[in-house]
């Protein structure tokens, strides 16, 4: 009995012991759980909090509205047009095929477009939106929005599309916007969230590109709390986007449109500078193109045509075209000579039609020669021999230094693409760039604005602006940013004697208003709007001796592509100059015949602000001019 009970109590105690063991075992296991809890909730808590946030916060980028570009008076040159469009998000659409079908019942969708859409959906990630259709009407847009509950996955959007109301008139100045390419990434940092906006457009050419950092604005962010199926529960913080800055340019849209009509059909450029504000009132280049094509999209053929066309419609000839200034350069040489005291006003130099230096003959355009010429006459009648002589006397260094004072060979920092520096050669330049020594013939050629000298129509206009005012005019394109006018520094006076300026200006007066002047036919009769200037004919190829013998001397005898460029530069009114102008007509032949009349019409428009009055023209030219002006008036929009 005792044995059993002893055993029994022993075993009873066993129960107790085993129970304790079980209890401890249970606590140990609970301990493991606590350890895991510690890891998740204490040690790794931050990581999980972040993941929880990622789950529930949906961040959307709000694209900024691009700044508008206006002309000086406020006409919209580049604006934003509302683009109503529809997109579809596959993962919300469940059955995209059906949704696309349903949509095509409400608005017209071609079958091929439907298949394109479905193919695009299949290619992209399920949360990435695919554009169904753009630029639909307000009515269509409303119709879809009203039916939205039965169109799952459809996202109606109002996007903005760049629109150029003045089409090809301002194409080169404004430029256009386009999708970002690799080279564009140089101007916009890769961290910029604006790059995440699908189809974001950046300025490619012209002011759109030059002022893009101001125009593009910055993105906003909207944060929404979403649930597990992506449904928006509530809006959290929203940082609104900042629209780009609006820009007022110095250009006058009416003047520009008139100028573009006037040079239509030519391969030409016109620059008009406002001498008071230093603003560029007109920057025209022909032929041109419609920048809206770059927004809407164009066919491969259209693109090929633009790119390969002989007259280069895509190039802005006004700032990128490098031309030998020809005789328009003579004022610079004259000033260099006078300031160096190397010529007197009355000194006569004889012109026989050519000058022999060494073994070479340098011809004057007037093959029979001008006879004895003084300084004013040399400009008035554009005698080449006079200037060969003058150039030799002055030397290329003085010519070069003076030219730079007037902007030749100087780069003007405008917010445009392809602004050229032109070229003002020097002995050093020739040695380093061409690896040849400078020869006297080079100086002679430079004296008449040929040889290596190259300038853009803009530079020629600036040169004349400086001649007319005696001040260091610096051309500008931007008048105001967001309504705030740009501060202009006071214009510096050029370190050249007043008497020298007087002399040269008088000479330019004579070019247009003296019977013997090369541009007499382009004079203005209205005493308040007298035009002064200088013609130029820049040779693009040498006319060989053999050709001369054959009688080929004149441009009209040559095929067009080999004809000289026609130039004219001038300022008006003579007594109190308000504008300077330069006109270059490629392969136009003689400057006096082709460029000067164009310049007269345009500068008269600038002075009056409207189509020039017929009374400003010489009587015998009025009928012809009237017909021309009437034609342009019909084509104009204002």
């Amino acid at each position: 009995m005792e044995k059993i009970s002893f055993r029994k109590t022993l075993l009873d105690r066993n129960l107790g012991r085993r129970a304790v063991l079980l209890g401890v075992g249970q606590l140990v296991l609970v301990g493991f759980l606590i350890r895991q809890m510690r890891e998740l909730q204490l040690q790794e808590s931050e990581k999980y909090q972040l993941l929880a946030e990622e789950n529930r916060i949906d961040i959307r980028i709000l694209p900024p509205v691009r700044g508008v570009i206006f002309d000086e008076k406020g006409a919209t040159l580049a604006g934003n047009l509302e683009n109503y469009r529809l997109r579809i998000v596959q993962e919300k659409a469940k059955n995209p095929r059906k949704v696309v079908e349903d949509i095509s019942r409400l608005i017209t969708l071609k079958d091929e477009r439907k298949s394109e859409i479905l193919a695009e959906i299949a290619k992209r990630k399920s949360y990435s939106p695919v554009t169904i259709i753009e630029n639909i009407s307000w009515n269509d847009f409303i119709r879809i929005t009203v039916n939205l509950p039965s169109l799952p996955g459809i996202v109606p959007e109002v996007a903005f599309k760049r629109f150029y109301a003045y089409k090809h008139f301002f194409a080169h100045v404004i430029g256009y916007v386009g999708e970002i390419s690799r080279s564009d990434l140089k101007v916009i940092s890769t961290g910029n969230p604006i790059l995440q906006i699908p189809d974001f457009h950046i300025g490619k050419v012209g002011v759109e590109k030059g002022l893009d950092p101001l125009l593009r604005g910055s993105v906003g962010l909207s944060r929404h709390e979403v649930n597990a199926v992506g449904r928006v529960i509530r809006k959290l913080k929203e940082d609104p986007s900042l629209s780009g800055k609006d820009i007022h340019l110095t250009v006058d849209s009416k003047l520009q449109e008139f100028a573009m009509h006037r040079i239509e059909g030519f391969s030409a450029a016109v620059v008009v500078i406002n001498l008071e504000t230093e603003g560029i009132s007109c920057l025209a280049s022909s032929p041109s193109f419609d920048p809206n094509l770059f927004i809407e999209g164009m066919s491969q053929e259209d693109w090929d045509m633009l790119k390969n066309s002989e007259n280069q419609p895509l190039a802005n000839k006004a700032v990128s075209g490098n031309y030998p200034p020809g005789s328009t350069f003579k004022m610079v040489v004259a000033i260099a000579a006078i300031e160096a005291g190397l010529i007197e006003t009355e000194e006569l130099i004889n012109c026989d039609g050519f000058l022999e230096v060494g073994e070479r003959r340098f011809h004057c355009w007037n093959s029979s020669g001008h006879g004895d010429m003084d300084l004013i006459g040399g400009i008035r009648e554009s005698c080449d021999v006079y200037y060969y002589n003058l150039a030799l006397r002055v030397g290329i260094k003085r010519i070069s230094d003076t030219a730079k004072k007037f902007g030749i060979g100087v780069l003007f920092p405008l917010p445009l693409s392809g602004v050229s520096k032109g070229l003002m050669p020097s002995k050093n330049w020739k040695l380093t760039q061409i690896r040849e020594k400078w020869v006297p013939g080079d100086t002679l050629n430079s004296g008449i604005g040929q040889g290596f000298v190259l300038s853009t129509p803009l530079q020629i206009a600036v040169m004349t602006a400086r001649l007319a005012t005696g001040l260091e005019i610096k051309p500008t394109l931007v008048k105001a940013i967001d309504g705030k006018p740009i501060n202009r520094n006071k214009k510096r006076a050029l370190k050249i004697q007043d008497s020298t300026f007087s002399l040269v200006r008088n000479a330019m007066f004579n070019v247009v208003n003296d019977k013997k002047g090369t541009a007499y036919e382009s004079r203005v009769v209205d005493k308040k709007k007298i035009l002064a200037g200088k013609t130029g004919t820049s040779q693009i190829r040498l006319i060989s001796e053999s050709e001369r013998k054959k009688g080929i001397r004149k441009n009209e005898d040559l095929p067009r592509s080999q004809r000289d460029h026609a130039l004219f530069t001038g300022f008006a009114p003579f007594n109190k100059p308000k504008y300077s102008i330069s006109v270059v007509v490629e392969h136009g032949g003689a400057g006096s015949l082709v460029a000067a009349p164009i310049a007269r019409d345009i500068i008269l428009f600038a002075l009056s602000g409207s189509i020039p009055k017929i009374t400003a023209y010489p009587i015998d030219q009025r009928d012809e001019t009237d017909a021309l002006l009437k034609r342009i008036k019909k084509a104009i929009h204002f």
Binding site: N14, Q36, K47, R56
Partner: protein, 362 residues
């Protein structure tokens, strides 16, 4: 009456109502109210059971056990699928899982067996074989449902009682040695005709081992659970402020994953707090068993406590990513009528054992 135990049970259940209100996003009617109603019924049941004499339960044990077995057989042939396994039985408008009844039945049967058996024979191989058989029968009937998880738990509970009853350590050591072999057998059987475990259960194990592989399926649940749990931090996000639960990122938030919401809203303090409360319940039961002079009563208490332990341990392990998800509810808190009734019933039995602890059977 073990008042502290009763108190804890009520406290935890009330906390459960609170959580059901929270995960319903402030809706009392959806889950909280039905649960309260069931609790009310179960509570009465528990009280009734408590005051019934323990000897009565002892007497019922074999019948309950056999009844359970019968039900399992019925389920195997006529059962309903729920969650991919034939576990449920529908009786009119009530659905319940017979496997739970079997756990109780097995516990009671083993308790009476060891109460009847002379203590010296406990480690005799013949007398060991019988209980093992008793364990194997329900286990073997549950596994083909298929439900490996519950089968394992049934076996575990049974073995625990055997351990508490004093079966020699060596038997258990031997069992532990066989275990890896058994596991290997199960995994080798994968893909063969004699596959011991259902495909999707293998899938569950795969996902458990690597939740990243199935981020939108089963892996999703675990990943989301860990995110929600972890984001609770030390103090939690606040009552009803659990963003993951509130925003539907957490699946089954009112049943299997309700612990996650507790952890998210009440943080480390809350999750460990609840865990400790469960622990205390277990400890109370063990202490009660140790002071219980009635052999049947004490073994019953230990067995039922183990059963309770498996509920919360398995649920919380799954929810924290330490074990595969098996659908085991969090006791007294997860939404579910039958589970609540069973748990309260078992506490009733435990109370009955406790109330009558001084009555030694002679």
């Amino acid at each position: 009456m073990h008042w502290p135990l009763l108190f804890l049970v009520v406290v935890i259940s009330c906390f459960g109502f609170l959580m059901l209100y929270s995960v319903a996003e402030g809706d009392f009617e959806q889950w909280a109210r039905p649960q309260m109603e069931r609790f009310f019924g179960g509570f009465i049941l528990m009280i009734i059971i408590s005051f019934v004499h323990i000897d009565f339960w002892r007497f019922c044990s074999p019948f309950i056990f056999l009844f359970g077995i019968v039900l399992l057989i019925v389920v195997l042939f006529f059962g309903d699928y729920g969650g991919g396994a034939k576990r449920w039985l529908e009786l009119g408008s009530i659905r319940f899982q017979p496997s739970e009844l079997n756990k109780v039945g097995l516990v009671m049967a083993l308790a009476i067996y060891y109460d009847w058996l002379t203590p010296t024979k406990v480690s005799n191989i013949f007398w060991v074989f019988i209980p093992v058989l008793m364990i194997l029968v329900p286990t073997a009937l549950v596994i083909p449902q298929p439900d490996l998880g519950t089968g394992t738990l049934i076996a575990f509970i049974g073995l625990t009682i055997m351990f508490a009853a004093g079966v020699h350590y060596l038997y258990f050591l031997g069992g532990l040695l066989i275990l890896p072999g058994l596991l290997a057998l199960v995994f080798y059987s994968r893909g063969t005709s004699w596959q011991l475990v259902n495909d999707y259960q293998f899938g569950r194990i795969d996902t458990f081992l690597n939740p990243g592989n199935d981020p939108l399926g089963d892996g999703y649940q675990i990943t989301q659970s860990k995110i929600a749990l972890g984001s609770g931090g030390l103090e939690g996000r606040g009552f009803m402020q659990g963003s993951q639960s509130q925003l539907d990122f957490l699946p089954y938030k009112h049943t299997d994953f309700i612990f996650t919401t507790i952890a998210e809203e009440f943080g480390f303090f809350g999750s460990v707090g609840l865990l400790l409360m469960y622990s205390v319940i277990i400890t109370f039961c063990i202490i009660s068993a140790m002071t219980n002079k009635n052999k049947f009563g004490s073994l019953l208490t230990i067995g039922l406590a183990t059963m309770f332990f498996t509920y919360f341990f398995v649920n919380i392990s799954a929810v924290t990513g330490m074990a595969p998800v098996t659908g085991v509810p969090l006791p007294l808190i997860s939404y579910g009528g039958s589970a609540m009734l069973v748990v309260l019933g078992t506490f009733g039995l435990i109370q009955s054992a406790h109330i009558h602890r001084l009555l030694k059977k002679d």
